[in-house]
Symmetry: C2
Subunit: 438 residues, 2 copies
């Protein structure tokens, strides 16, 4: 579970909690607008939301981490250039179309940045573009340029919630995390859903702080926070072309305790990463795998990822079926394929604290089976049922709780470890990604 271990009986309670998280740090404003358009590649009406995040004054103190996918979107190509600019003044995000490998995509992104800059009194190079959505289509540049004034008109310094809502695609609800550090704060918003792993995702995360931390320190701290949060999660092993985590400081509040800032940043990122998994496409169960006793961290993390990405095990979890054979299969597959020679003879594995495997053999009995099923049921977010057409849609648009399936694997070989977060594989995931009712 996350550091907060929250439960929400209904969407309204969740919404109220989000609103309580949403106060903007000093020096930021956000605005959004939504408009309809017709994509060139698939001439059917669609709608897009533009989200603007602006600083009262451009800041030299910003950091960003981008996808390692070898076909990065145009905003990623532009964003990498922006890291070399002296200051940043705004982020402009669109959903619906990700502007990846579209003809002239980089030039389009730059022209849209220039359009926003004109309205905001900035230089084009002070605007960071972000796009998420369909890969391969072209952005509706004239429609975006025409909609920008409306987004600027809504800029407001009170709540980040409109931005958290504006950037989503198939997410069921907005995601916000905050932490206070002295007189300042860190507020982060994120969208995710599918195509999440490893080294970022169809994931856009914007972290805003009024605490004054210089650029180089921000960049070091962000890299560390991402490594132990967003890079430890996987919904489905796919890796987006558009992943972005950006961190901006308005510098309005002196930061007297850098260690506290680093800890708060790490916590915000870990909790938000878990939120993104929990609201992954079709997720019924969040699965946490803690690998210990590994010879090195890379092995621990790779073994954990192998477990949370094993389709048959993911399906079993979806069905509240403690299919421990599939868990051990996934471990053996990883070792046999990617870590030959890794000694598994002393491996111990447990689910929900219940030992299921030790010293090369399963430790199973009917009583344990019953307890394992109970653990899986406790961690279930919702039970599903198809509608009359066989389409599975999630029945809830809020996270009922933050409980997780807890898997522990001890290799008993060394002192390294890693914890990774994944999810089950469900009918809702297939419906979201295979079934269309348009």
């Amino acid at each position: 579970m996350s550091s907060t271990n929250l439960t929400f009986p209904d969407a309204a309670t969740h919404r109220a909690w989000l609103a309580g998280q949403a106060a903007l740090p000093a020096g930021f404003r956000v605005g959004t607008t939504r408009f309809n358009f017709t994509p060139q590649e698939a001439p059917k009406p669609a709608s897009m939301t533009l989200t603007l995040i602006t600083l009262d004054a451009p800041t030299p103190d910003f950091a960003a981490v981008f996808t390692r996918n070898a076909f990065p979107g145009a905003p990623i190509i532009v964003g990498r250039r922006r890291l070399g600019e002296p200051t940043l003044g705004a982020i402009l995000v669109n959903n619906k179309i990700s502007n990846v490998c579209a003809p002239g995509g980089v030039e389009t992104a730059e022209r849209i940045c220039a359009g926003a800059a004109r309205l905001l009194g900035l230089e084009p190079e002070q605007v960071l573009p972000s796009s998420t959505g369909v890969i391969g289509w072209r952005l509706p540049e004239p429609a975006i340029l025409a909609a920008l004034p409306a987004a600027v008109a809504t800029l407001d310094n009170t709540s980040v919630l409109p931005a958290a809502e504006g950037i989503v695609t198939t997410d069921l609800y907005p995601k916000i995390r905050r932490a206070a550090v002295g007189a300042g704060s860190i507020v982060a918003i994120g969208k995710g859903a599918g195509m999440i792993e490893p080294n970022l995702a169809t994931m856009l995360v914007y972290i805003l702080t009024d605490l004054a931390v210089p650029r180089d320190t921000l960049r070091t701290l962000l890299a560390g926070a991402v490594a132990s949060s967003f890079n430890t999660i996987s919904i489905d092993s796919d890796m987006s072309t558009s992943d972005t985590v950006a961190l901006l400081s308005s510098g309005k509040v002196p930061c007297s305790d850098l260690a506290a800032f680093e800890a708060a940043l790490g916590l915000v990122c870990r909790d938000l990463a878990e939120d993104i998994v929990r609201n992954g496409e079709g997720v019924h169960h969040v699965v946490r795998v803690a690998v210990t006793g590994a010879p090195d961290t890379a092995t621990a993390q790779a073994l954990g990822k192998a477990i949370i990405n094993a389709p048959l095990f993911k399906c079993a979890v979806a069905g509240n079926d403690p299919n421990v054979g599939r868990l051990v299969q996934a471990i053996g597959k990883y070792a046999g394929k990617d870590a030959p020679g890794l000694d598994l003879s002393h491996l111990r594995a447990s689910i929900g604290g219940i030992e299921i495997f030790a010293d090369g053999v399963f430790r199973l009995d009917p009583a344990k089976e019953t307890a394992l099923v109970a653990h899986l049921r406790t961690a279930e977010l919702y039970a599903s049922a198809p509608d009359a057409t066989g389409f599975f849609a999630p029945p809830v648009r809020f996270p009922a709780h933050e409980r997780t399936v807890e898997i522990a694997v001890d290799l008993a070989l060394g002192n390294a470890g890693a914890t990774v977060l994944g999810a089950d594989l469900t009918h809702e995931y297939v419906s979201e990604n295979a079934d269309y009712r348009s």
Copy 2:
């Protein structure tokens, strides 16, 4: 499509075709029996089929390839020992329980082999055991020993069909391929369904031939045939603990043309591998990815596997949605994560012969979209619908055709290539592996 490009209007036609493939090579007999028992770990009634494949005389000429999963089943451990024995006289297969990491599993397998050997006039070391099914449970040893005489009593030298039916688990139909070489033949049977990739699968394949080929040659030829067939397929990226491909020669017919034998063995393996994909759990579409222009074969094969294992693309194929963005995402993920520095700037990709990507940008228009949808629909094996409880079961128990989704990726970097076979990700897969109606 396979080398035969068959179509079957109904199950009876498919069955008749199978019967025509099924004549046993000289020197072999098969027998089966089915019985009920109660597993110790989950005390509910279950049933198991034993399948015996025997030689009229033990042969020195046998070969086998096993899973590389680091938690191999007890039959794999025993089977690796058998490779060092001077002769083999029988194979004994059970389904339902795979005897993997069960307490005392190796000793149990050896005692069962000894029981079969007594009935067949063999030494225990002349019997190769095979098991498939649930991982982690113990074999019902007394029930198996009690059932063995019934299997022996049915031994018959006419048709391999009873064995092809006896070894299945969640397969929808038996799978047989044959080839003639001069006066002799090669007949192969296989079971698969899920947990298939890479380097074998929950896959058991037995290849029988009356052609006299010496042990060392057989083993070399089998390794080559497996590399270009069973090791190029993936249903779901999972790798079973029990995969086995065994090849036995009775030596009854002189083999005057070893090149013809090698070619026939390769063809039988490739077609049977494709059969196994086509009958994979929940498969609606078989997807063939041909990678060319690669710097080396390993890169070509890994890139092909990355495409056929990308969940979002697999879901899109299931929905007859030519989501080319997800295809390119999968390529970029592979390159970014596993092949940094691979030059993708000249990559060209097509689906069904229709170019969709070249020189860094998509080549899409509405007419192409229509043609791509038509290609996907042509390759669809069946459309699905849930029953009243939301459970998706395949509506057919035969392969309607052998058409495939054809994806071509040319890296334009070198002369190496590889072709891999995969499948889509469907509600039937999730129902099979997450939903239970016990």
